[in-house]
Amino acid sequence: MNNQNTKKSSSVNLRQYSMLIALVVIMIFFQALTKGIFLKPQNVTNLILQNSYVIILAVGMLLCIVSSGSIDLSVGSVVAFTGAILGVLIVQKGMNTWLAIIITLAAGLLIGIWQGFWIAYVGIPAFIVTLAGMLIFRGLTLYILQGMTLSPFPKDFLAISSGFLPGAKVGSFNITAIIIGAAAMVLYAITEISGRQNKKHKGYAVSSNSVFFAKLVIILAVIAVFSLWLALYEGFPILLIILMVLIMAYSFYTNKTVSGRYLYAMGGNAKAAVLSGINTKKTLFSTFVNMGVLAALGGIVFTSRLQSATPTAGQGFEMDAIAACYIGGAAVMGGSGTVAGAVVGALVMGVINNGLSIMGVGSDITQVVKGFVLLAAVVFDIVSKKRSAEV
């Protein structure tokens, strides 16, 4: 009996990590094919900056998918729309960067409230509401920009996507990145070990010593190598801080909070959730409000990276975000999926984009490859779920 239990849980874990393993395999594959260019410090930093907006959007999209299996088709247009607002406020009106950012985030909030209202309280399918939103906000972008591209943006705004934390170089290493990396390692080790002691103290079951320390060592090593790599280039990107805070906050929210649990409950069975006292309308509403704000954040980051506000910005971003969630193992009908999974999904696509472009493969073939990867990931997920259900 006991034996069976451990066997079962290890196979579940394996499936959890399967996409992560796939990501590592793909990276090694590109490293070989690009003759070592792929994992050069400069390209690793680039990879993160390039895919930041997809990660931001995918996190928001994940909450929509988990809570109700619904997707937000308007995020690409909202990215463009919020970019246009930034363009008008900063480039044309010369507004203070921070004030403009706050106004833009507020605009995202309003968009989320608008769409969330129709979806949650009037009961219009999210697909329809956000399809309408896709047209509306793209149209408004064109109207605001009058077909023009607005630039230049001031330095402080561009720093969001291209700035690094200040720090001197010691040898060929950036000292700030090293310090942050070391701090992260210490912090991680302390929280893990004290959490485990605490559990033991309360008499709860904990994983075996060898499993625990193996996992700890692997993660510490990954942090160490990663921060060294950043240090070898220009240091610690400002954007990476935003991303990490975002990912940690949303992982915490979905894993450890009451309202995070409610998302999964209503996605798993809305009726049962209602009967358990969960306000499903409010929960659904808040996921779309959240999506609006994150889309605005995506708009800020993308505009900063592009260094201009253009009418065609963000086209197809919604599909990247949706694909990232599904590649990362989110269930199409809702009720399951993780933030970490969505991030891995976004990275898988980002790595494929980046690797193929280094190899000189055109965007035509890249799209074909991404399509196959999406299909393969979901097929794998469904087939392995079926297999585990049959046993």
Binding site: V258, S259, A265, N269, A272, L275, S276, G277
Partner: protein, 513 residues
């Protein structure tokens, strides 16, 4: 003696090394109704799935001989072709197609792929006549009730020229009247030479219509009883099923009912949300003493579930008036959250679609209605959740590997125990149980009744809604009879008999009280 239409010999089936059917021999005589009974998980469904080709030939060992021919069914289509039709508990009808379209689904009356609608509807009305269903074949299936849908399923099987009909819990979702009608139909069809295998938990039905009864326990045939040859009693069948002597179906309760009224619904009125001007609940008042089990009896659609759901967070009905009183104080139950905060719990009649999150594990399901209590400043304490789930798992003996087992992989009885755990965890003073034992086996029923006894012993109020009269009569201290949204009778335990309850419904007037 008639010929054997079906013989299943030495059937052995394993799932990942665990033997679920151990050398089963099962035979059915032509033109009889043969009941197959056993607890959930005993192997009935597995046996029938082998017979109907769900588990293909080769995945089990043993022989199936049907109408004298050894059969090797690889798919359900194969068994259908041979003349075996299964009617599952969950009906396989498509709601937005007409009765006739459903009747010939997969078996269309067509020429070269082009539908022959005249023939379809002509043949359909002939089939409907055979099962005694007076409905226009053009009616959409969603517009007829479950009882009639069940008849459509049977007609569909007849349309495929089935000679052996397997019915899995056909009356589980039917009213008393519809059940009787269905059983009568089976007897009629038997007269015309149709053989049926009836899987049912309702032993009174089984004993009244079957010619033979086979009891399965733990993958083995315990015995086959022949009508007119063996002495068939429900007690004997139950003893066979559970493997121990069960002196009583209901555990003894020794609770002194308090004089104090713990829970009261006063002059509850609600309008039907779909049909304007029609009352859903019509001036209902009920009282429950502390430590008392009160039953709500009535036919399906009498308004019992609607009453419970309109009280519990106003999930049904509109323009609701009336008051809910607990321990002498009026309480607000206008949302589910407020109802839970006021210590009211409602266990839904449909545990699969509304009670559980099937894709989640036991642990998450147990804590979901009381989640704020597992959190400090909104942050969850998962260890506490797991510990609590483990407590309930052992307390209610939820059969599972651990609390991380998905609830969709549990048997009906264990699923129900998870739902009960979830609500008992909210520490309710009033527990409304809607069909708490539907579709679960005798052993698990007994355990659930025991839990109910523990609750009232602790001074809680329990309200039970059940369509099975013997259950309401057996478990309740007092019974309200409902019909068409009204209370039409109140009977004490000593007064309550099935006849009295039906009388109340029929005369639709207050008696007793």
């Amino acid at each position: 003696m008639a010929d054997r239409i079906l013989e299943m010999r030495n059937i052995i089936k394993e799932f990942s090394g665990i033997r679920v059917l151990k050398d089963v021999n099962f035979s059915v005589e032509e033109g009889t109704i043969h009941a197959l009974v056993g607890e959930n998980g005993a192997g009935k469904s597995t046996l029938m799935n082998i017979l109907s080709g769900v588990y293909p030939y080769g995945s089990y060992s043993g022989d199936i001989v049907f109408e004298g021919k050894t059969c090797q069914f690889k798919t359900v289509k194969d068994s259908e072709k041979a003349g075996i039709a299964v009617i599952h508990q969950e009906l396989a009808l498509i709601p937005y197609l007409t009765i006739a379209e459903n009747l010939f689904l997969g078996n269309e009356k067509a020429k070269n792929g082009i539908m022959d609608w005249d023939q379809t509807y002509f043949e359909a009305s002939k089939l409907l006549e055979r099962v005694g269903l007076k409905e226009n074949p053009h009616t959409l299936v969603k517009d007829i009730n479950v009882g009639k849908q069940q008849l459509v399923e049977i007609a569909k099987a007849l349309g495929k020229n089935a000679r052996l009909l397997i019915l899995d819990e056909p009356t589980a979702a039917l009213t008393e009247v519809d059940s009787q009608h269905l059983l009568k139909l089976l007897l009629e069809l038997k007269g015309n030479g149709l053989t049926s295998i009836l899987i049912s938990h309702k032993l009174n039905e089984v004993t009244s219509v079957s010619d033979a009864i086979t009891v399965i326990r733990d993958g083995e045939v315990i015995e086959t009883l022949q009508q007119r040859k063996d002495e068939i009693t429900e007690d004997r069948i139950i003893q066979d099923m559970v493997g121990r002597k069960m002196t009583e179906q209901f555990p003894a309760r020794d609770v002194k009912i308090s004089d104090k009224i713990g829970f009261e619904i006063q002059h509850w009125i609600a309008d039907n949300e779909l049909i304007p001007g029609k009352r859903l609940i019509d001036d209902v008042s009920i009282q429950v003493h502390k430590g008392e089990v009160v039953g709500l009896a009535g036919l399906m659609g009498a308004g019992r579930t609607e009453l419970a759901m309109s009280v519990f967070g106003r999930l049904r009905g509109k323009n609701i008036h009336g008051s809910v009183v607990k321990n002498g104080k009026a309480i607000d139950t206008s949302t589910v959250k407020k109802a839970i905060q006021n210590k009211i719990a409602y266990v839904t009649e449909d545990r699969k679609s509304a009670g559980l999150i099937l894709s989640n594990d036991i642990c998450t399901n147990v804590t979901i209605a009381d989640l704020p209590h597992f959190a400090t400043r909104h942050i969850l304490d998962k260890d506490l959740e797991i510990r609590t789930a483990n407590e309930y798992r052992s307390k209610f003996r939820i059969k599972s590997n651990n609390v991380f087992q998905l609830t969709k992989n549990l048997s009906g009885g264990n699923q129900q125990k998870v739902v009960l755990s979830k609500w008992i965890l909210t520490k309710p003073d009033v527990l409304i149980l809607d069909e708490p034992t539907r579709g679960i086996d005798v052993g698990a029923k007994y355990e659930i009744y025991t839990i109910i006894n523990q609750l009232v012993a602790a001074g809680k109020c329990v309200i039970i809604i059940s369509s099975e009269l013997p259950e309401v009569l057996g478990i309740s201290d007092r019974i309200y009879v409902m019909n068409e949204g009204k209370i039409v009778g109140e009977l004490s335990k000593s007064e309550a008999t099935p006849e009295r309850v039906m009388q109340c419904i029929i005369s639709n007037q207050k008696v007793g009280a």
